[in-house]
Symmetry: C2
Subunit: 502 residues, 2 copies
C-alpha cells in the first residue's frame, strides 16, 4: 500500500491552492518513471521464486444493495499455492489484497511462503476489487464515480468473505481454519476482517496497519515527524540539509531561468515545467525510503540497499564541501531512483504506475481520509491540513465528497484500547518504528490475544518479507513470535472443534 | 417483527405451485382486516402511556457504495425520551427498529420505559429504513428493486451507527455508553449491531432473535413443530382438531358451492374467492397466537387474553358435541381476530397492513432467507421447502434472486458457539420457549458475557413488554437478571473509562 497511501500524504501535507502551485491530481503522483517501473521485476532479484496458480472467482459487484445493477458480477483474481497444504488438517492462510496487482503483494509477502511448510498451509492471495485484473467494469472501471462507486473497503471485505467461503466449500475444506494476513492497507483489511468476520477467519496478522490514522486519533503531524525522525536519528546534518533543501529549491525556481537550472541539477530527461514536479520527486524519495528502511537489500518500492536512510545520509554527510543543500538532497534522493546506476537522466513529472496503484486516489477521496500536516519541526515545508480544499478537489474530480468520519463509524478506532479490551480476539498488530505509518498503528497490547509486536528498527511490513541470511536477530525473533501466536490460534481452534463434535 | 416474518413462513411452509392453488403474493398476507387494524391503538389499552418526542435525521441512502446516487439522503425517524436521562452519567438505550413503524415497537417495548428511571437512561427508538415514515424515495420507495435495493439489514445497521454517533455528538454525550435493545428481527439487528459495531454499543439485549434460522443451522421443521407443540401441550384434542381441520377445509372447498358454504362458516363480510384465503386466515391465527402466548392480557399482534393458546384450546375442547373440526378451528381462530367481540363478520382475504409490515416481503426475497417446512408431525399440512420456486417468485415479483447464504456469510451463525466463545462479549439472547422462533435462537450460554436467558413459559419478546401486576415470578426474575447484566456492562464501561483517563 505504501506508495498509494503516500499519494494521499503528498496532497495533505502540502498546501494545496487553486493557483498554479497547486499539486497535480493525486493519480499522477507516481514518482517512478516509466523506465523505473520495469525495475520491479527485472533488474533486482525479488528473492526466492514464488509458485502459484492463478484463478478467477465470479464475485458479486455490490454486496450491500440489491438493485438489479448490484447483481452484476465480475471476475476477481486470486492466487493459490497448495504445495505444502495438508487438505485434511492444514490451515488456509489468506492475504487480504490491497491497492495494487496481487502478484506484487505475493512477491513481497515471502513470509507466507516461508511458513507454509511448517503449517502445511494453503496460501491464497486475493486481489482487491478494482486493482490489477479485478476490474468490475473492465477498461471503464476507473472512468467515473458511477463505476468507482463500488470500490471501497467494506465491499472488499465482503468479497473476501464470499470468496473464502466458496473456496473452502469447493475444496471440501470447510472445517479448515483461516488466518488473514495483510500489510499496510492490506493489514487494515486483515484486522477489520477479523473484527467483522470472526466466523470466517480465526485470526489476523496485520502488519504496519495504520488503523488509527483517521479523524483525530493520531496527531496529524505524526507521519512526517516520523519520516523526519528517521533521518534525524541518522545525522542532524542530514536532517538539516533536507529541511533546507526545500527553501533552496523554491528560491532557485523563482530565479530567471530557474526551471532550466533545476532541470540540469535534477538531470531530468525533459525540461521541468513546474518546480512542484521536482519537489514531489524529492519528497517521494525521502518518504518512501523512510518507510522501506529495511535492514537488508530489498526491492519493494524500489531497489535499495540495506538501511537506505543511513545510505542517503551518508551521501549527504559525505558530499564534497561547498555543495548546496539542494544538490545534496538531490544526490541522496537519487539513491531511491537510481541505486542500480542504470539511469543517465530522470523522467521527473512523467511517472508511470506499474502496479495500478493510482486507483487509490478514489479511495482517498471517499473513505480513506487520513489527515496529515507538516509541523515546523519536520524536515518538510510546514503545512496545514485543509479538509475543505481536499473535499473540493474530490468533488471536482469525481463529483462526490469525502466521508471523513465514515471509516471510524464503520470500523471504530476511537478508544480502541477500551473497546477491544473486552471484545474480539486473535489479532497481531506488528509495527516497525522506523516506518512513519507505525504512528497510526496499534503499538500496545490491547488484550491477551489482541497484541502489538513492535520492533524499534523495523520498517513498513518488514516482517512480511522473505527471511534472508542477513536478517537481524530481532527480526527473526519477531517472526518467530508471530508463528507461535498463529500456531496457538490454530491449536485452540482444533481443540474447540474437537470438543464441539464430542 | 412477528407478523412480517410470518409472511415468509406462510409461503415457505406451504407448497407453492404455479396453479390456482398458489399462494397470493406475500405482501397481501395480512390477515387482519381493515377494521381490525384500528384495534391496535384504540380499543384495547396499550398499557401505560408512553412519552416521546419525534425527530428526523438526515441519513445517507447507501453507506457502502459511493456512486452519486448513493449520496442521496432521506429523513430517518427516531423517537426520544429523555425524561429520566442524566446527561452527565446516564447511558443511552437504543431500540434498533425492525420492520414496521417505530411507534408500534416503542409501545411494545415498555421494558425500556420501565427501566429508564433506575438507569437514568436516554431512550432512543430508531425506525428501520423503508418502514414507517422512513422512506428514502417517498411514495415510490416500494415500487421496484431500483428503490427497494437499498433496504437491507446491513444498511440498517450502518444507519444506526451513523445516527447514534451524530446524536451523541449533538447532545454532547460522546462518552455515554450505548446499549442496544431489539426484539425479533430487531433483536437480530441488536445482536449483529453489537458484533459489527462494538465501538458504538457496549452490549445488546436481543430478545427472541432467531439468528440461527438461516441455511441449515436449525431444522427447517422447527418453527411449525414449535407452534404445534404449544397447542399439543395444552391438549391433544386441540392439536388433533386443528390438524384435522385443514383436511375438512380443503374437502369442503372442493364440493359444489363449497366456497359459499365456507363463506358462511367463516362469517366472511364478502364471499370468499379462494379457499386459500380461509386457510391462511386460520393459519395466521394459530401461528401468531403461539408466538404471543403471553401470560397476561396484551395487544401486540392483536388484542388477546392471557394465555391465548390455552383459551383457544378451551374453545375447541369445550365445543358442543357434533361440531366439525373445521367449525372448532374457526371458533378458536376467531379468538385471535375478535377477542373484543366487536365484529359481526370477517374481512378474510382483504386484510390491511396498519404498520407497513408488507415491505418485509422484499427482505424475505433477497437476504432473509429462512427455510421452513411442515413435518408430518406438525398440526399443519405437510409441505417441503422449495428454494427454486421461492426464488422464481421473487424473480418474477422484483426482478432479483434471493441470496440464500448471504446472511450467514455476513453475520455468521454456523458453529456460533465455537466462534463467539473466543470472540465478542456483552450480548443477552433472551428467549421464551413457547415462541416458535426460539428454536432458531441462541439457547445456551456462549461465553461468560454472551449469555442465553431462557424461560420455559415465555413467548415472543415477552420480556420487552411493560411489567404488569399480573406478571408471573419467572418473568419478573428474567427481567431482573437482564437489568443486572446491563448494569454490569455499564459499570465496567465506566471503570474502563476512568482507568483510561488516569
Amino acid at each position: 500500500m505504501a506508495r498509494a497511501l503516500l499519494l494521499l500524504l503528498l496532497l495533505t501535507c502540502t498546501v494545496s491552492t487553486t493557483t498554479s502551485s497547486k499539486l497535480p491530481p493525486l493519480h499522477t503522483y507516481f514518482p517512478r518513471s516509466a523506465s523505473d517501473a520495469s525495475l520491479f521485476h527485472t533488474q533486482v532479484p525479488k528473492g526466492p521464486k514464488i509458485n502459484y496458480t492463478t484463478h478467477y472467482f465470479t464475485q458479486t459487484l455490490d454486496h450491500f444493495t440489491y438493485t438489479p445493477k448490484s447483481y452484476k458480477t465480475f471476475q476477481q483474481k486470486y492466487l493459490l499455492n497448495s504445495n505444502h497444504w495438508d487438505s485434511l488438517s492444514g490451515p488456509v492462510f489468506v492475504y487480504t489484497g490491497n491497492e495494487g496487482d496481487i502478484e506484487w503483494f505475493a512477491y513481497n509477502t515471502g513470509f507466507m511462503f516461508d511458513v507454509a511448510p511448517q503449517f502445511k498451509a494453503l496460501l491464497v492471495f486475493i486481489e482487491h476489487r478494482f486493482y490489477g485484473e479485478s476490474k468490475p467494469f473492465g477498461d471503464d472501471s476507473h472512468s467515473s464515480a458511477e463505476t468507482l462507486g463500488y470500490l471501497n473497503s467494506q465491499q472488499a471485505l465482503a468479497d473476501y468473505a464470499v470468496l473464502i467461503r466458496s473456496l473452502k466449500r469447493n475444496l471440501s475444506a470447510e472445517a479448515a481454519p483461516v488466518v488473514a494476513f495483510g500489510g499496510s492497507y492490506g493489514g487494515m483489511l486483515a484486522a477489520w476482517f477479523r473484527l467483522k468476520y470472526p466466523h470466517i477467519t480465526i485470526g489476523a496478522l496485520a502488519s504496519s496497519a495504520p488503523i488509527l490514522q483517521f479523524d483525530d486519533m493520531t496527531p496529524w503531524t505524526s507521519f512526517y515527524d516520523g519520516v523526519s525522525l528517521d533521518f534525524k536519528e541518522e545525522s542532524w546534518n542530514c536532517f538539516d540539509v533536507i529541511k533546507g533543501g526545500w527553501v533552496e529549491l523554491m528560491a532557485l525556481s523563482e530565479q530567471k531561468e530557474g526551471l532550466m537550472e533545476l532541470s540540469r541539477t535534477f538531470k531530468t530527461c525533459k525540461d521541468l515545467h513546474s518546480v512542484y514536479s521536482a519537489r514531489d520527486w524529492l519528497w517521494t524519495a525521502f518518504v518512501y525510503t523512510a518507510m522501506v528502511d529495511y535492514p537488508t537489500r530489498a526491492n519493494f518500492m524500489a531497489p535499495l540497499p540495506a538501511y537506505p536512510v543511513k545510505e542517503m545520509c551518508r551521501i549527504i554527510d559525505g558530499f564534497p564541501r561547498g555543495g548546496s543543500k539542494l544538490n545534496k538532497a538531490f544526490a541522496a534522493a537519487s539513491l531511491y531512483y537510481n541505486y542500480t546506476s542504470t539511469k543517465t537522466c530522470f523522467n521527473i513529472g512523467n511517472e508511470s504506475d506499474s502496479h495500478g496503484l493510482h486507483v487509490w486516489d478514489w479511495q482517498a477521496c471517499t473513505e480513506m481520509i487520513m489527515p496529515m500536516s507538516c509541523s515546523n519541526e519536520s524536515m518538510f515545508p510546514p503545512s496545514a491540513y485543509n479538509a475543505k480544499e481536499s473535499g473540493d478537489d474530490c468533488l471536482k474530480k469525481y463529483g462526490v465528497l469525502p466521508r471523513p468520519h465514515w471509516i471510524t463509524t464503520e470500523f471504530g478506532g476511537h478508544r480502541i484500547y477500551e473497546v477491544l479490551k473486552r471484545f474480539g480476539s486473535n489479532i497481531i498488530f506488528s509495527n516497525g518504528m522506523k516506518d512513519p505509518w507505525s504512528r497510526g498503528g496499534v503499538l500496545k497490547n490491547i488484550s491477551s490475544s489482541i497484541v502489538a509486536l513492535v520492533t524499534e528498527q523495523g520498517a513498513h511490513h518488514l516482517d512480511f518479507r522473505f527471511a534472508t541470511k542477513d536478517d537481524p536477530e530481532w527480526l527473526t525473533q519477531q517472526r518467530k513470535r508471530e508463528i507461535e501466536i498463529i500456531k496457538k490460534w490454530i491449536d485452540e481452534y482444533y481443540a474447540d472443534l474437537k470438543k464441539s463434535s464430542i
